[in-house]
């Protein structure tokens, strides 16, 4: 991890509101190469709004969003994608009945030959998909097998590997472990760490599981009702702290006091 490197993307005091309702307020965030930034928060905390802004699905109202130091206002996810900012959503954009290698290249197929005999370069796609997956530490014995027959964790890592292969510098992973069991989550978490450390990708990892976040995160941001509840590097934070903030932080303290007082004043 190289903290001195310039951030790939940098958000300063970014905010977004819908009418009177502020969905996101004063969020500052930078993502560097090889760094995993975890964004945690309850439902409705503003995680989706934040990643939608980063991925170019919606634009921010206040603050600045800079990519490589240049301020941006994306009109479409395509623009973000062209700058290497790629999102992998829970639906994964995979076709279950298609083989692993066809899914890997879907929409960006390699071609060979001249019209009208222009055709898929099947050999090259099979070989490259195999090499790329192996290089990123994903072992799939048969690339011809339909991707729907892979486990949930394997499908998730293939989708992430595809984004990395097609030039992602910043990967936004939207709750990649939410629907997975312990073993499958392990596959995905291990891969997130590999993608960041070995491929040098900046990762934004959205989750509501502090245990998963703490296993791979370098930097943690907890959102609560559209505002930053905590924003700190791993060195300054223990898992207990993170769980505490996740559970409600200062609000939880107040609640605890209140309950405690009720308990004390209750007739014994």
């Amino acid at each position: 991890m190289d903290m001195s490197a310039n951030p790939i993307i940098q958000l300063s005091n970014v905010g977004k509101s819908y009418g009177n309702i502020s969905a996101l307020k004063d969020v500052s965030l930078s993502v560097r190469q090889g760094e995993v930034t975890c964004i945690l928060g309850d439902n409705g905390a503003g995680k989706s709004t934040l990643i939608s802004i980063i991925a170019g699905l919606i634009t921010h109202d206040t603050g600045t969003y800079a990519v490589d130091g240049k301020a941006m206002h994306f009109n479409s996810p395509r623009q973000a994608l062209d700058l290497g900012i790629s999102a992998v959503y829970q639906t994964l954009a995979l076709v279950p009945l298609l083989s692993v290698w066809r899914n890997f290249y879907l929409g960006s197929e390699l071609m060979t030959g001249v019209a009208p005999f222009k055709r898929l370069d099947v050999k090259k796609m099979q070989a490259t998909a195999g090499e790329e997956l192996a290089r990123m530490g994903i072992n799939i014995p048969d690339l011809e097998q339909p991707i729907g027959t892979l486990s949930g964790g394997q499908r998730q890592v293939v989708a992430i590997a595809r984004a990395v292969h097609f030039g992602a510098r910043v990967l936004i992973l939207d709750e990649p472990t939410a629907a997975l069991g312990v073993t499958q989550s392990g596959i995905v978490l291990r891969f997130i760490a590999t993608a960041a450390r070995e491929q040098g990708v900046g990762v934004i990892f959205i989750t509501h599981n502090p245990h998963h976040a703490y296993m791979v995160g370098d930097h943690f941001m907890v959102l609560s009702r559209g505002e930053v509840e905590t924003d700190t590097a791993r060195a300054n934070l223990s898992l207990e702290d993170l769980m505490f903030h996740m559970a409600g932080g200062a609000g939880l303290n107040a609640l605890q006091h209140e309950l405690h007082r009720n308990e004390a004043s209750a007739p014994v």
Binding site: L92, V95, L97, L106, S108, E109, L120, P146, T149
Partner: protein
Amino acid sequence: MRRQVVHQPLWKKVLKRPEVGALGGVILVFAFFYVMAPPFRQLSALTTVLYQASTLGIPAVAVAMLMIGGEFDLSAGVAVTSSSLAASMAATEIFGNIWLGIIFALFFSLAIGALNGYLLVKTKLHSFLVTLSTFLMLQGLNIAITKLVTGNVATEDISGMPGFNLAQSIFASSFKVGNVNVSIAIVYWIILALIGTWVLLRTRVGNWIFAVGGQGDSARAVGIPVKKVKIGLFMVVGFSCWFLGMHMLFAYDTVQSGAGIGNELLYIASAVVGGCLLTGGYGSAAGSALGAFIFGMTTEGVIYADWDPDWFMFFVGAMLLLATVFNGWIRVRASSGRK
């Protein structure tokens, strides 16, 4: 670094193909009629069977591609007749020229396909409903317009028109192999099935067709023009209907306006027996040819065996049921991966 590609034994590769069920069916049905019907064993019987199969198989290739793309076309059966009628009446009543009639019919058939596709993507209705509507409308138009124009339920004989001989030699001639007559429709059918297979497995559009039918949202997410692919597929079906329609026109010289009803289900049945999933995203163009071959053998086999031809439909139904159950079973076994 581990090497990822594991080479599988050939039989496992074959078993994973969608058309394997149909191949088994071809062997079984062939063996059945070979034993039951002595005339079925002659070479001339085989060409008759193949001809029967080609009249189902030409549209079935396109219908299979459409089904892989996730849609149905119930209008394909009457659309064949519509195309013949359009060519015949346009040639005799409007242009006075056979070739202009043929070209008019081509645009007409492509337009029906495009309309089906356009209505589908605009209304977002199920293709079953959209094409059922076109089916019924075409069925009505076929008879109504024919009566209006010719005062009869069939069109005039066009065999006397200039250019007829050339058109007939292209669309409906036959040639001799040894001492049996082979219809050129069989050749076209096999060529179309080969082209369809190549397009599906080896071209970008083919890859997109599988993706569009398999998981439309994912296809859209990776930038595939889902609507264009669907409209294009309906137009391919339109083209196949035109092609068979021209064969029918030049094979019989006149067109019965009520013909073709019910054939759409045989095209779909051929595609399904050939391995297409009703839900899309899986199937084979070559498989549809095998499916059509099975139905061709059944139609002719029943006749050679000297049974009542009404048994044919019973066989079609039974075959469809067997094939779907068998295909489903094979697919689960083959795609569950390792063993």
